[in-house]
């Protein structure tokens, strides 16, 4: 017996070591889903011994690069500055157009009591390492629990989605990339609004799943996060459709090219705080050129409070007229008008102030009938958010008609 054990000693040890590892694997597979947490303590050893070196090397690399870029590589900065200024001008023009679209979208969302998630706070982190394996597509970042990083937080770049935090250590965190085969992101097509989920393949490709084969998916279509996974806020860019093929069963095989370059990540943002709030039509932000001009023009002086009360201004809580003729808040000293101005600040379609003397006695024009269509509009300020127009007597009572919306049938409007 002893001779047999001695003869096959090496083989027996090999089988024993393999058996132990298979046993360990089986235990992890049995607890699949939470295996990362179960083995966290073991992984700390490896991560703790590797990441300090990686952090040091990245620090040296960044330092050297900064010295080069900030002190030596300043050739062509003026030309670049000129180009950037021109670019800013173009972007400003674009911003004006987009802000109008956004304002309209907010109004529509507020109508639907739509709750959306915003990225409230992010933490910038530097990528310091990877798994070093093609079978495990993860990266390590230099921020961990000490910086408020928690598991399942979204990791993004300005270009798009990168992945989510899988494991957190005290001063480092492991991020599972979206091209790993165990990852999943809820996505939606920007134009067609087709939804599905995004996952990685064994080859490191990114595919969109669960889109029926009878759907038309054009190559180049943009893909955004849908927010359905409760990890990534809705509307973040994910990628573009690179290839569409017939997949298994009734679904399409859609290959996605991620907008973020997952193979060359240097800095990422971890979304540490999301804010969920209902969209509101914030018309304070909307300032038209005509309004600014009107404020600069000579205006009619204020009237005392008593006069304001006599023209039929109703206190808060009562039905309010649809359109305002208010002057800038600085010119509304009386208590009643200041209260109304305050109201105006929160509700742009609130009551008319009595600061315009030409409206005195014109009760009907200032306070429309309760049951008139205009009155119903005033109770829902987000429907037609009228903008105050101060200098013009008649146009001030006209609604600002938004694209796509019907003008209010105001009995009192001077048509």
């Amino acid at each position: 017996m002893e001779s047999v054990l001695g003869r096959y000693r090496n083989l027996i040890i090999l089988v024993g070591v393999l058996f132990l590892q298979v046993l360990g694997l089986a235990m992890q597979v049995k607890r699949m889903g939470n295996e990362a947490q179960d083995t966290r303590l073991i992984r700390i050893w490896a991560v703790g011994s590797i990441t300090p070196f990686e952090r040091g090397l990245v620090w040296m690399q960044t330092g050297t690069r900064n010295i080069w870029h900030n002190y030596f590589y300043l050739r062509g900065v003026r030309a670049e500055n000129r180009d950037l200024k021109a670019q800013i001008e173009q972007m400003r023009l674009e911003q004006v157009r987009l802000s109008e679209d956004a304002a309209q979208a907010r109004r529509l969302q507020s109508l639907l009591a739509f709750k959306e998630q915003f990225v409230a706070k992010t933490v910038a982190a530097q990528v310091i390492g990877s798994s070093g394996s093609d079978f495990s597509r993860i990266i390590y970042i230099d921020k961990g629990e000490n910086s408020g990083i928690k598991r399942d937080m979204a990791v993004i770049t300005p270009d798009g989605v990168v992945g989510k935090v899988a494991l957190v250590y005290s001063s480092a965190a492991q991020v599972l990339l979206i091209n790993d085969q165990t990852s999943g992101v809820g996505v939606i097509m920007a134009d067609s609004r087709l939804d599905g989920w995004l996952g990685g393949t064994a080859n490191g490709e990114v595919v969109m799943n669960d889109v029926m084969s009878d759907e038309d998916v054009p190559v180049g279509a943009k893909v955004l996060t849908s927010g359905g996974d409760q990890i990534f806020p809705k509307g973040l860019p994910v990628g573009t459709v690179a290839k569409v093929m017939k997949g298994k069963d009734l679904f399409l095989n859609i290959k996605i090219k991620p907008t973020a370059d997952l193979s060359k990540l240097e800095e990422v943002l971890v979304v540490v705080e999301k804010q969920e709030k209902q969209a509101t039509a914030d018309d304070k932000a909307r300032v038209r050129a005509a309004d600014i001009l009107a404020q600069r023009l000579p205006s009619v002086p204020d009237r005392p409070t008593a006069d304001a009360a006599s023209v039929g201004i109703k206190p808060e809580g009562t039905a309010k007229p649809a359109f305002t003729t208010s002057l800038p808040p600085a010119k509304t000293p009386p208590a009643t008008t200041s209260r109304l101005a305050e109201k105006n600040a929160t509700n742009s379609t609130s009551a008319a102030t009595a600061t315009a003397p030409r409206k005195t006695g014109d009760d009907t024009s200032a306070t429309p009938k309760q049951n008139s269509p205009a009155a119903s509009v005033t109770t829902k300020p987000s429907v037609i958010p009228a903008k105050p127009s101060t200098a013009q007597p008649k146009p001030s009572t006209l609604p600002t008609i938004q694209p796509g919306s019907q003008p209010a049938a105001d009995d009192n409007s001077p048509h």
Binding site: R9, N10, I13, L14, V17, L18, Q21, V22, G24, L25, A26, Q28, V29, E35, A36, T39, I42, R43, W45, A46, V47, S49, I50, F53, E54, L57, V127, I128, G129, S130, S131, G132, S133, D134, F135, S136, I138, I139, Y140, A166, L167, Q174, L176, D180, Q181, T182, T201, A202, N203, S263, K264, L265, E266
Partner: protein, 180 residues
């Protein structure tokens, strides 16, 4: 006394004509750690690196062949493999099992063959890369149910790349060998 503290007797002769080497403790610990570090760091700058090169495997093969002890080889492979598993997010043990088999095989082969010349090293590394890939593929698919696809072209190409890098690396690591 100093020598006994700074070096460790890792292997014992099992053949009459082959030489058995040992390594100092700093080299025994430092080289695998350095290999893991480079393997984890370089893919950030060169994404192809993780796809084609497996430095911890090359270090496993080198130590196993130099020590010529199957037990030492399999333990070297198991420890390096498990450490590599810890850096990823997959269950711990897949690389461990694959590198245990490679460590055992390389040291067993080292006992019987002269693996000191470049040609033999090239072929041995190519062969063990394929063995490693096959074991990893089997364990990942069979035990962990990971979706894996076997690609012969990629396997051979990566094997050739590893073998070429391995031959150069082994010549550098030869400097750390200590005769028993």
């Amino acid at each position: 006394m100093t020598t006994a503290l700074t070096s460790v007797q890792i292997t014992y002769t099992s053949g009459e004509q082959v030489e058995v080497y040992r390594f100092s403790i700093p080299v025994t610990i430092g080289i695998p750690l350095l290999a893991l570090f480079v393997q984890a760091f370089l893919p950030l700058r060169f994404p192809w690196f993780a796809r084609y090169v497996d430095l911890p495997l090359l270090v496993t093969i080198f130590f196993a062949m130099a020590r010529r002890s199957p037990v030492a080889g399999l333990f070297t492979g198991a420890i390096i493999g498990l450490a590599q598993d810890m850096l990823g997010h997959n269950p711990i043990g897949i690389y461990g099992i694959a590198k245990t088999v490679v460590g055992y095989g390389a040291s067993s082969l080292g006992v019987k063959l002269d693996v000191e010349n470049a040609g033999a090293r090239f072929l041995v590394t190519l062969g063990f890369y394929l063995v490693h890939s096959a074991v990893y593929f089997t364990v990942a698919r069979g035990l962990v149910s990971m979706t894996q696809s076997w690609n012969w072209l990629h396997g051979i190409l990566a094997g050739l790349v590893n073998a070429a890098i391995g031959v150069m690396l082994y010549f550098v690591l030869d400097k750390f060998k200590q005769r028993t």
